[in-house]
Symmetry: C2
Subunit: 132 residues, 2 copies
C-alpha cells in the first residue's frame, strides 16, 4: 500500500521525541453510506461515559470529520494525546465496558481500510508539517 | 458527489455559532506520488514568511498528514482559526507575495479533488463530533 518514503524532519516537522509533550494524531476509516445518518446522530450526543474514558486516557481536542473520495465516504479523526503511555491509555479505553457497548453501535457503521495495522480499526496518518 | 445529509447537532456537535471562538477546520487534497519526496522536504522547513502570514491570519495548531486510499496519496490538513473574518484573513494570505512564491512550489505537488469548491484547491470536511 505504501512506498515507505523516509520521513523528512526539520523545524516545521520535528521528530516525535522533539515535538513536545502533546502528540497530534490523525486517523481515517471508511463510513458505510447506509449508516451515515445513524453515525451522525450518535456523534452529536456521544455517551458521557465514553467521553469520560477518553479524557481519563489523556485524549483532548478530538474532532471527527466526514469526507467523500472517489464515491466513498470516510471519517477523519484528529485528536491530541497528552499522556506518557499511549498503549496503556488505549488499552484502558478498550477494556471499558461502556466504551465496548458504544463500539457495538459504531463498529457496524465503519469499514477499516486495508492499510489499518493488524488489530486496529483506524489507519494512522503520518504527520509531515506542524505549526503551533 | 454528496447526498447532502442534514447535519445533526447536539452536545458533542454544536452548531458553528455555539462552538466558541475557535473554528476547527479539516481539508483534503490529492498528492502527486512523483512529488511526495519534494513535498515532504518543503514542509519540513516551511519558509518563515509563509508561517508568519498564516499566524497573522489567525491560523494556529496547523498539522498536515499524508495518507493513501485505494492506491492514491492524499494530504489531510487540520488547523484552528481564531479570527473573526475568515474570508478577509484567507484573502490576505492569497495576496501575500511570499505565499504566492510558496504556492508555485506546492501547487504542482497537489491535485484538487472534484469536490473542491469553485476557486478552491482544498476540499473542506464537515465536522460531526467535537470533544474539548
Amino acid at each position: 500500500m505504501t512506498d515507505n518514503l523516509i520521513p523528512v524532519h526539520g523545524p516545521t516537522n520535528p521528530p516525535a521525541d522533539a515535538a513536545g509533550p502533546v502528540r497530534r494524531m490523525c486517523q481515517i476509516i471508511g463510513l458505510k453510506p447506509e449508516k451515515e445518518a445513524y453515525y451522525r446522530e450518535l456523534h452529536a450526543d456521544v455517551w458521557p461515559g465514553v467521553l469520560e474514558r477518553l479524557a481519563r486516557s489523556n485524549i483532548h481536542n478530538y474532532s471527527i470529520f466526514i469526507t467523500e473520495i472517489a464515491g466513498k465516504k470516510y471519517l477523519v479523526a484528529y485528536f491530541e494525546y497528552g499522556g506518557t503511555d499511549l498503549a496503556a491509555d488505549m488499552q484502558a479505553i478498550a477494556a471499558d465496558p461502556e466504551t465496548q457497548r458504544w463500539w457495538l453501535e459504531t463498529d457496524p457503521c465503519q469499514f477499516p481500510l486495508p492499510s489499518a495495522a493488524p488489530g486496529e480499526k483506524w489507519t494512522g496518518l503520518e504527520c509531515v508539517f506542524f505549526m503551533p
